[in-house]
Protein backbone atom coordinates (compact mmCIF):
# COMPACT_ATOMS: atom_id res chain seq x y z
CA UNK A 1 0.00 0.00 0.00
CA UNK A 2 1.21 3.51 -0.79
CA UNK A 3 0.91 6.54 1.53
CA UNK A 4 -1.62 7.99 -0.94
CA UNK A 5 -3.87 4.94 -0.64
CA UNK A 6 -3.63 4.96 3.16
CA UNK A 7 -4.43 8.69 3.28
CA UNK A 8 -7.44 8.32 0.95
CA UNK A 9 -8.76 5.32 2.92
CA UNK A 10 -8.35 7.19 6.22
CA UNK A 11 -10.07 10.37 4.96
CA UNK A 12 -13.12 8.49 3.60
CA UNK A 13 -13.40 6.41 6.79
CA UNK A 14 -13.16 9.49 9.04
CA UNK A 15 -15.87 11.32 7.08
CA UNK A 16 -18.04 8.17 7.17
CA UNK A 17 -17.55 7.87 10.94
CA UNK A 18 -18.86 11.40 11.42
CA UNK A 19 -22.12 10.71 9.58
CA UNK A 20 -22.71 7.15 10.80
CA UNK A 21 -25.16 6.15 13.50
CA UNK A 22 -24.54 3.30 15.98
CA UNK A 23 -25.30 0.60 13.36
CA UNK A 24 -23.18 2.35 10.77
CA UNK A 25 -20.32 2.44 13.26
CA UNK A 26 -20.47 -1.36 13.49
CA UNK A 27 -19.86 -1.55 9.71
CA UNK A 28 -16.96 0.90 10.06
CA UNK A 29 -15.44 -1.23 12.83
CA UNK A 30 -15.69 -4.28 10.57
CA UNK A 31 -13.93 -2.42 7.73
CA UNK A 32 -11.26 -1.12 10.12
CA UNK A 33 -10.73 -4.67 11.46
CA UNK A 34 -10.33 -6.03 7.92
CA UNK A 35 -7.84 -3.26 7.10
CA UNK A 36 -5.92 -3.99 10.30
CA UNK A 37 -5.68 -7.72 9.60
CA UNK A 38 -4.71 -7.39 5.94
CA UNK A 39 -2.47 -4.32 5.96
CA UNK A 40 -1.04 -4.13 9.47
CA UNK A 41 -1.05 -7.77 10.60
CA UNK A 42 -0.24 -8.66 14.21
CA UNK A 43 0.89 -5.09 14.91
CA UNK A 44 -2.76 -3.97 14.95
CA UNK A 45 -2.54 -4.27 18.74
CA UNK A 46 -0.12 -1.35 18.79
CA UNK A 47 -2.63 0.82 16.91
CA UNK A 48 -5.44 -0.29 19.22
CA UNK A 49 -3.33 0.45 22.31
CA UNK A 50 -2.37 3.91 21.01
CA UNK A 51 -5.99 4.69 20.14
CA UNK A 52 -7.00 3.49 23.61
CA UNK A 53 -4.41 5.72 25.27
CA UNK A 54 -5.69 8.74 23.35
CA UNK A 55 -9.36 7.93 23.92
CA UNK A 56 -9.36 6.70 27.54
CA UNK A 57 -8.82 10.11 29.22
CA UNK A 58 -11.34 11.62 26.81
CA UNK A 59 -13.93 8.94 27.61
CA UNK A 60 -13.42 9.43 31.37
CA UNK A 61 -13.76 13.18 30.91
CA UNK A 62 -16.96 12.86 28.88
CA UNK A 63 -18.43 10.41 31.39
CA UNK A 64 -17.65 12.88 34.14
CA UNK A 65 -19.30 15.79 32.34
CA UNK A 66 -22.30 14.09 30.70
CA UNK A 67 -23.19 11.23 33.03
CA UNK A 68 -22.02 12.44 36.43
CA UNK A 69 -22.55 16.18 36.03
CA UNK A 70 -25.23 16.94 33.39
CA UNK A 71 -27.08 13.61 33.75
CA UNK A 72 -29.04 13.96 30.48
CA UNK A 73 -28.40 13.25 26.81
CA UNK A 74 -28.33 16.15 24.28
CA UNK A 75 -31.53 15.01 22.52
CA UNK A 76 -33.34 15.00 25.88
CA UNK A 77 -32.07 18.50 26.56
CA UNK A 78 -33.21 19.62 23.08
CA UNK A 79 -36.66 18.05 23.68
CA UNK A 80 -36.79 19.68 27.15
CA UNK A 81 -37.67 16.43 28.91
CA UNK A 82 -36.20 15.25 32.22
CA UNK A 83 -33.46 12.92 31.08
CA UNK A 84 -31.75 9.88 32.49
CA UNK A 85 -28.14 9.06 33.17
CA UNK A 86 -28.59 5.86 31.12
CA UNK A 87 -29.40 7.96 28.03
CA UNK A 88 -26.41 10.18 28.77
CA UNK A 89 -24.25 7.05 29.05
CA UNK A 90 -25.57 5.75 25.72
CA UNK A 91 -24.76 9.10 24.13
CA UNK A 92 -21.20 9.13 25.54
CA UNK A 93 -20.70 5.54 24.37
CA UNK A 94 -21.74 6.46 20.81
CA UNK A 95 -19.50 9.55 20.69
CA UNK A 96 -16.55 7.64 22.14
CA UNK A 97 -17.10 4.72 19.72
CA UNK A 98 -17.16 7.21 16.84
CA UNK A 99 -13.99 8.96 17.97
CA UNK A 100 -12.25 5.67 18.76
CA UNK A 101 -12.79 4.33 15.24
CA UNK A 102 -11.46 7.63 13.82
CA UNK A 103 -8.33 7.50 15.97
CA UNK A 104 -7.94 3.76 15.27
CA UNK A 105 -8.12 4.22 11.49
CA UNK A 106 -5.58 7.07 11.62
CA UNK A 107 -3.25 4.97 13.78
CA UNK A 108 -3.64 1.95 11.48
CA UNK A 109 -2.90 4.10 8.43
CA UNK A 110 0.19 5.48 10.19
CA UNK A 111 1.28 2.01 11.27
CA UNK A 112 1.28 0.77 7.68
CA UNK A 113 4.50 2.75 7.28
CA UNK A 114 5.97 2.11 10.72
CA UNK A 115 9.21 0.78 9.25
CA UNK A 116 9.69 3.86 7.08
CA UNK A 117 10.91 7.25 8.21
CA UNK A 118 8.49 10.23 8.17
CA UNK A 119 10.60 11.66 5.33
CA UNK A 120 10.09 8.51 3.23
CA UNK A 121 6.32 8.57 3.83
CA UNK A 122 6.08 12.25 2.88
CA UNK A 123 8.23 11.49 -0.19
CA UNK A 124 5.68 8.92 -1.34
CA UNK A 125 2.72 11.30 -1.08
CA UNK A 126 1.30 12.74 -4.28
CA UNK A 127 1.10 16.32 -3.09
CA UNK A 128 2.55 19.66 -4.22
CA UNK A 129 6.20 20.14 -3.31
CA UNK A 130 5.37 23.15 -1.08
CA UNK A 131 2.97 21.01 0.99
CA UNK A 132 5.55 18.24 1.40
CA UNK A 133 8.24 20.74 2.34
CA UNK A 134 5.93 22.35 4.90
CA UNK A 135 5.15 18.94 6.45
CA UNK A 136 8.85 18.04 6.66
CA UNK A 137 9.74 21.41 8.18
CA UNK A 138 6.86 21.26 10.70
CA UNK A 139 7.85 17.80 11.92
CA UNK A 140 11.49 18.90 12.14
CA UNK A 141 10.58 22.08 14.04
CA UNK A 142 8.38 20.20 16.52
CA UNK A 143 11.57 18.30 17.43
CA UNK A 144 13.54 21.56 17.59
CA UNK A 145 10.88 23.01 19.89
CA UNK A 146 11.03 19.92 22.12
CA UNK A 147 14.80 20.25 22.40
CA UNK A 148 14.38 23.96 23.20
CA UNK A 149 11.87 23.08 25.95
CA UNK A 150 14.32 20.57 27.49
CA UNK A 151 17.26 22.99 27.31
CA UNK A 152 15.38 26.01 28.66
CA UNK A 153 13.64 24.05 31.39
CA UNK A 154 16.93 22.51 32.60
CA UNK A 155 18.75 25.85 32.47
CA UNK A 156 16.02 27.69 34.39
CA UNK A 157 15.83 24.95 37.04
CA UNK A 158 19.63 25.05 37.43
CA UNK A 159 19.53 28.82 37.84
CA UNK A 160 16.71 28.60 40.39
CA UNK A 161 14.22 30.61 38.31
CA UNK A 162 11.68 27.77 38.10
CA UNK A 163 11.30 24.59 40.16
CA UNK A 164 10.60 20.97 39.21
CA UNK A 165 7.37 20.67 41.19
CA UNK A 166 4.37 22.96 41.48
CA UNK A 167 5.28 26.30 43.01
CA UNK A 168 4.34 29.96 43.08
CA UNK A 169 7.74 30.68 41.53
CA UNK A 170 6.75 28.69 38.42
CA UNK A 171 3.57 30.71 38.12
CA UNK A 172 5.50 33.97 38.52
CA UNK A 173 8.36 33.03 36.16
CA UNK A 174 6.46 30.84 33.66
CA UNK A 175 6.67 33.65 31.17
CA UNK A 176 10.50 33.62 31.36
CA UNK A 177 10.42 29.92 30.49
CA UNK A 178 8.15 30.54 27.48
CA UNK A 179 10.31 33.42 26.27
CA UNK A 180 13.44 31.36 26.76
CA UNK A 181 11.98 28.47 24.72
CA UNK A 182 10.95 30.82 21.92
CA UNK A 183 14.33 32.59 21.79
CA UNK A 184 16.24 29.28 21.88
CA UNK A 185 14.17 28.05 18.93
CA UNK A 186 14.48 31.31 16.98
CA UNK A 187 18.26 31.32 17.52
CA UNK A 188 18.55 27.75 16.23
CA UNK A 189 16.30 28.46 13.24
CA UNK A 190 18.08 31.72 12.34
CA UNK A 191 21.42 29.92 12.50
CA UNK A 192 20.15 27.18 10.20
CA UNK A 193 18.56 29.56 7.72
CA UNK A 194 21.48 31.93 7.53
CA UNK A 195 24.53 29.67 7.82
CA UNK A 196 23.99 25.92 8.14
CA UNK A 197 21.48 25.23 5.37
CA UNK A 198 23.14 27.40 2.68
CA UNK A 199 26.56 25.83 3.43
CA UNK A 200 25.17 22.29 3.39
CA UNK A 201 22.65 23.04 0.61
CA UNK A 202 20.01 21.36 2.74
CA UNK A 203 17.01 22.86 0.92
CA UNK A 204 18.54 22.08 -2.46
CA UNK A 205 18.95 18.46 -1.39
CA UNK A 206 15.44 18.38 0.07
CA UNK A 207 13.79 18.94 -3.31
CA UNK A 208 15.01 15.70 -4.97
CA UNK A 209 14.62 13.86 -1.65
CA UNK A 210 10.89 14.56 -1.31
CA UNK A 211 9.69 15.70 -4.74
CA UNK A 212 10.77 12.74 -6.85
CA UNK A 213 9.03 10.03 -4.90
CA UNK A 214 5.37 10.56 -5.88
CA UNK A 215 4.17 6.95 -5.79
CA UNK A 216 1.51 5.84 -8.27
CA UNK A 217 -1.80 4.73 -6.81
CA UNK A 218 -1.77 0.93 -6.81
CA UNK A 219 -4.57 -1.60 -7.35
CA UNK A 220 -4.40 -2.35 -3.65
CA UNK A 221 -4.96 1.35 -2.84
CA UNK A 222 -7.97 1.47 -5.16
CA UNK A 223 -9.41 -1.70 -3.60
CA UNK A 224 -9.26 -0.22 -0.10
CA UNK A 225 -10.67 3.06 -1.37
CA UNK A 226 -13.58 1.13 -2.89
CA UNK A 227 -14.13 -0.63 0.45
CA UNK A 228 -14.07 2.71 2.29
CA UNK A 229 -16.50 4.28 -0.18
CA UNK A 230 -18.86 1.31 0.06
CA UNK A 231 -18.73 1.50 3.85
CA UNK A 232 -19.25 5.26 3.71
CA UNK A 233 -22.35 4.68 1.56
CA UNK A 234 -23.75 1.92 3.79
CA UNK A 235 -23.02 3.55 7.16
CA UNK A 236 -25.77 6.21 7.04
CA UNK A 237 -28.21 3.76 5.41
CA UNK A 238 -27.68 1.29 8.25
CA UNK A 239 -29.03 3.91 10.64
CA UNK A 240 -32.20 4.41 8.61
CA UNK A 241 -32.87 0.68 8.17
CA UNK A 242 -35.33 -0.44 10.80
CA UNK A 243 -35.68 3.05 12.27
CA UNK A 244 -39.16 3.83 13.62
Amino acid sequence: MTPNGAAAFAIVMVVSAMIAGPRGLAILYAAAAAFALVEVGPHWRIAARRAGLIMLPLAVFMLLVWVAFVGRAPDEIAAQVPGTRAAALAYVTTVCARLFVIVLVLQLATLCFDKETPLAVIRGLRAPFAVKRLLVLTLSLIETLRHAVDRSYTALIASGIVTRGLSLRNFRNGWILLQSIWLTTITAVTGRLRDKWPVEDTLGLLRPAIAAGDERVSFRDLSWLAVALAVGFMAPLAGWYGAP
Binding site: Q80, L137, R146, L183, I186, T190
Partner: protein, 204 residues
Amino acid sequence: MFTTPRLIAIALCAALNFSVGTIVYFIKLPIYFDSIGTILCALLVLNDRTTAFLCALTAAVTATIVTGILVNPFLPWFVGTDVVIALVSALLTTRGAQAFRARPMHAGRFVGWVFAAGIVTGVIAAIVSAPVVAYLFGGVTGSGSAFVVGMFLKAGQGLWNATLASGLIIDPIDKTLQVLVAALLYRATPSDFIAMVRGAPARP
Protein backbone atom coordinates in the same frame (compact mmCIF):
# COMPACT_ATOMS: atom_id res chain seq x y z
CA MET B 1 4.52 34.29 -1.23
CA PHE B 2 5.70 31.09 0.49
CA THR B 3 9.44 31.80 0.60
CA THR B 4 11.68 29.48 2.63
CA PRO B 5 11.95 31.81 5.67
CA ARG B 6 8.16 32.19 5.63
CA LEU B 7 7.68 28.44 5.40
CA ILE B 8 9.99 28.15 8.40
CA ALA B 9 7.94 30.74 10.28
CA ILE B 10 4.72 28.93 9.36
CA ALA B 11 6.13 25.57 10.46
CA LEU B 12 7.45 27.10 13.70
CA CYS B 13 4.08 28.66 14.47
CA ALA B 14 2.31 25.38 13.63
CA ALA B 15 4.70 23.59 16.01
CA LEU B 16 3.91 26.23 18.68
CA ASN B 17 0.15 25.71 18.22
CA PHE B 18 0.65 21.95 18.48
CA SER B 19 2.91 22.02 21.56
CA VAL B 20 1.02 24.53 23.71
CA GLY B 21 -2.44 23.35 22.55
CA THR B 22 -1.59 19.74 23.38
CA ILE B 23 -0.38 20.56 26.90
CA VAL B 24 -3.52 22.60 27.64
CA TYR B 25 -5.75 19.88 26.13
CA PHE B 26 -4.24 17.19 28.33
CA ILE B 27 -4.46 19.14 31.58
CA LYS B 28 -8.10 20.10 30.78
CA LEU B 29 -7.85 23.81 31.50
CA PRO B 30 -11.10 25.59 30.61
CA ILE B 31 -9.29 27.43 27.79
CA TYR B 32 -7.80 26.28 24.46
CA PHE B 33 -4.49 28.10 23.88
CA ASP B 34 -4.12 26.43 20.47
CA SER B 35 -3.93 29.53 18.26
CA ILE B 36 -0.93 31.43 19.64
CA GLY B 37 1.10 30.37 16.60
CA THR B 38 -1.66 31.49 14.20
CA ILE B 39 -1.76 34.99 15.69
CA LEU B 40 2.03 35.17 15.93
CA CYS B 41 2.41 34.06 12.31
CA ALA B 42 0.19 36.92 11.11
CA LEU B 43 2.30 39.34 13.14
CA LEU B 44 5.62 37.96 11.85
CA VAL B 45 4.61 37.86 8.18
CA LEU B 46 3.25 41.37 7.99
CA ASN B 47 4.15 42.37 4.43
CA ASP B 48 0.52 42.74 3.40
CA ARG B 49 -2.76 41.52 4.85
CA THR B 50 -3.33 38.80 2.21
CA THR B 51 0.11 37.26 2.82
CA ALA B 52 -0.39 37.52 6.59
CA PHE B 53 -3.80 35.81 6.31
CA LEU B 54 -2.60 32.99 4.04
CA CYS B 55 0.52 32.28 6.11
CA ALA B 56 -1.45 32.36 9.40
CA LEU B 57 -4.11 30.09 7.90
CA THR B 58 -1.49 27.64 6.64
CA ALA B 59 0.11 27.50 10.10
CA ALA B 60 -3.30 26.95 11.73
CA VAL B 61 -4.41 24.21 9.32
CA THR B 62 -1.04 22.42 9.51
CA ALA B 63 -1.19 22.40 13.32
CA THR B 64 -4.82 21.26 13.25
CA ILE B 65 -4.01 18.32 10.97
CA VAL B 66 -0.95 17.23 12.99
CA THR B 67 -2.79 17.61 16.34
CA GLY B 68 -5.90 15.91 14.95
CA ILE B 69 -3.90 12.88 13.85
CA LEU B 70 -1.66 12.59 16.90
CA VAL B 71 -3.61 13.88 19.90
CA ASN B 72 -7.06 15.42 19.63
CA PRO B 73 -9.63 13.82 17.27
CA PHE B 74 -12.06 16.73 17.86
CA LEU B 75 -9.79 19.40 16.44
CA PRO B 76 -10.04 18.92 12.63
CA TRP B 77 -13.77 19.81 12.76
CA PHE B 78 -12.86 23.30 13.94
CA VAL B 79 -11.01 24.25 10.79
CA GLY B 80 -13.62 26.98 10.17
CA THR B 81 -12.56 28.57 13.47
CA ASP B 82 -8.95 28.47 12.21
CA VAL B 83 -10.03 30.46 9.15
CA VAL B 84 -11.69 33.22 11.16
CA ILE B 85 -8.85 33.45 13.69
CA ALA B 86 -6.35 33.80 10.83
CA LEU B 87 -8.60 36.39 9.17
CA VAL B 88 -9.09 38.51 12.30
CA SER B 89 -5.38 38.22 13.11
CA ALA B 90 -4.43 39.46 9.63
CA LEU B 91 -7.02 42.22 9.48
CA LEU B 92 -7.13 43.46 13.07
CA THR B 93 -4.38 42.12 15.36
CA THR B 94 -1.61 43.09 12.92
CA ARG B 95 -2.73 46.73 13.18
CA GLY B 96 -1.35 46.65 16.71
CA ALA B 97 2.05 45.35 15.55
CA GLN B 98 3.77 48.70 16.11
CA ALA B 99 2.31 49.03 19.60
CA PHE B 100 3.46 45.48 20.41
CA ARG B 101 7.08 46.22 19.45
CA ALA B 102 7.31 49.87 20.57
CA ARG B 103 10.42 50.56 22.68
CA PRO B 104 9.91 51.74 25.35
CA MET B 105 6.57 50.00 25.67
CA HIS B 106 3.49 52.23 25.80
CA ALA B 107 1.57 50.13 28.29
CA GLY B 108 -1.81 51.72 27.55
CA ARG B 109 -1.62 51.17 23.77
CA PHE B 110 -0.20 47.66 24.22
CA VAL B 111 -2.94 46.57 26.62
CA GLY B 112 -5.61 48.33 24.53
CA TRP B 113 -4.62 46.47 21.38
CA VAL B 114 -4.38 43.15 23.22
CA PHE B 115 -7.89 43.55 24.63
CA ALA B 116 -9.41 44.83 21.38
CA ALA B 117 -7.90 42.08 19.24
CA GLY B 118 -8.50 39.36 21.85
CA ILE B 119 -12.14 40.19 22.47
CA VAL B 120 -13.04 40.56 18.77
CA THR B 121 -11.21 37.31 17.90
CA GLY B 122 -12.89 35.53 20.81
CA VAL B 123 -16.43 36.64 20.02
CA ILE B 124 -16.11 35.71 16.33
CA ALA B 125 -14.42 32.37 17.14
CA ALA B 126 -17.20 31.56 19.64
CA ILE B 127 -19.94 32.25 17.09
CA VAL B 128 -18.23 30.18 14.38
CA SER B 129 -17.37 27.20 16.59
CA ALA B 130 -20.70 27.05 18.49
CA PRO B 131 -22.63 25.16 15.73
CA VAL B 132 -19.83 22.56 15.49
CA VAL B 133 -19.75 22.05 19.27
CA ALA B 134 -23.56 21.97 19.58
CA TYR B 135 -24.66 19.96 16.55
CA LEU B 136 -21.66 17.74 15.88
CA PHE B 137 -20.61 16.91 19.44
CA GLY B 138 -23.74 17.61 21.47
CA GLY B 139 -22.10 20.49 23.34
CA VAL B 140 -19.19 18.66 24.92
CA THR B 141 -15.76 18.29 23.38
CA GLY B 142 -12.59 17.06 25.08
CA SER B 143 -11.44 20.47 26.26
CA GLY B 144 -11.89 21.77 29.79
CA SER B 145 -14.47 24.30 28.57
CA ALA B 146 -16.94 21.39 28.43
CA PHE B 147 -17.39 21.84 32.19
CA VAL B 148 -18.76 25.34 31.55
CA VAL B 149 -21.16 23.98 28.90
CA GLY B 150 -22.15 21.30 31.44
CA MET B 151 -22.84 23.96 34.07
CA PHE B 152 -25.16 25.82 31.71
CA LEU B 153 -26.94 22.61 30.73
CA LYS B 154 -27.31 21.69 34.37
CA ALA B 155 -28.81 25.12 35.01
CA GLY B 156 -31.55 24.31 32.50
CA GLN B 157 -30.24 26.08 29.41
CA GLY B 158 -30.86 24.58 25.95
CA LEU B 159 -27.99 22.96 24.07
CA TRP B 160 -27.46 25.81 21.61
CA ASN B 161 -27.73 28.54 24.28
CA ALA B 162 -25.39 26.67 26.64
CA THR B 163 -22.77 26.16 23.93
CA LEU B 164 -22.94 29.74 22.66
CA ALA B 165 -22.97 31.26 26.15
CA SER B 166 -20.01 29.11 27.18
CA GLY B 167 -18.13 30.14 24.03
CA LEU B 168 -18.92 33.81 24.54
CA ILE B 169 -17.60 33.64 28.11
CA ILE B 170 -14.50 31.51 27.51
CA ASP B 171 -13.36 32.48 24.02
CA PRO B 172 -12.81 36.22 24.60
CA ILE B 173 -10.77 35.45 27.75
CA ASP B 174 -8.87 32.66 25.99
CA LYS B 175 -8.16 34.70 22.86
CA THR B 176 -7.13 37.79 24.88
CA LEU B 177 -4.58 35.64 26.72
CA GLN B 178 -3.44 34.14 23.40
CA VAL B 179 -3.06 37.58 21.79
CA LEU B 180 -1.12 38.69 24.89
CA VAL B 181 1.30 35.74 24.66
CA ALA B 182 1.64 36.14 20.87
CA ALA B 183 2.30 39.88 21.26
CA LEU B 184 4.93 39.27 23.95
CA LEU B 185 6.63 36.60 21.82
CA TYR B 186 6.49 38.95 18.83
CA ARG B 187 8.04 41.66 20.97
CA ALA B 188 10.81 39.29 22.06
CA THR B 189 11.58 38.04 18.52
CA PRO B 190 14.89 39.40 17.19
CA SER B 191 14.56 42.02 14.42
CA ASP B 192 16.84 40.11 12.05
CA PHE B 193 14.56 37.05 12.14
CA ILE B 194 11.50 39.20 11.38
CA ALA B 195 13.40 40.92 8.54
CA MET B 196 14.37 37.51 7.16
CA VAL B 197 10.73 36.35 7.24
CA ARG B 198 9.45 39.54 5.64
CA GLY B 199 12.27 39.64 3.10
CA ALA B 200 13.24 43.17 4.14
CA PRO B 201 16.50 44.62 5.54
CA ALA B 202 16.83 44.28 9.32
CA ARG B 203 15.73 47.21 11.46
CA PRO B 204 16.99 47.87 14.97
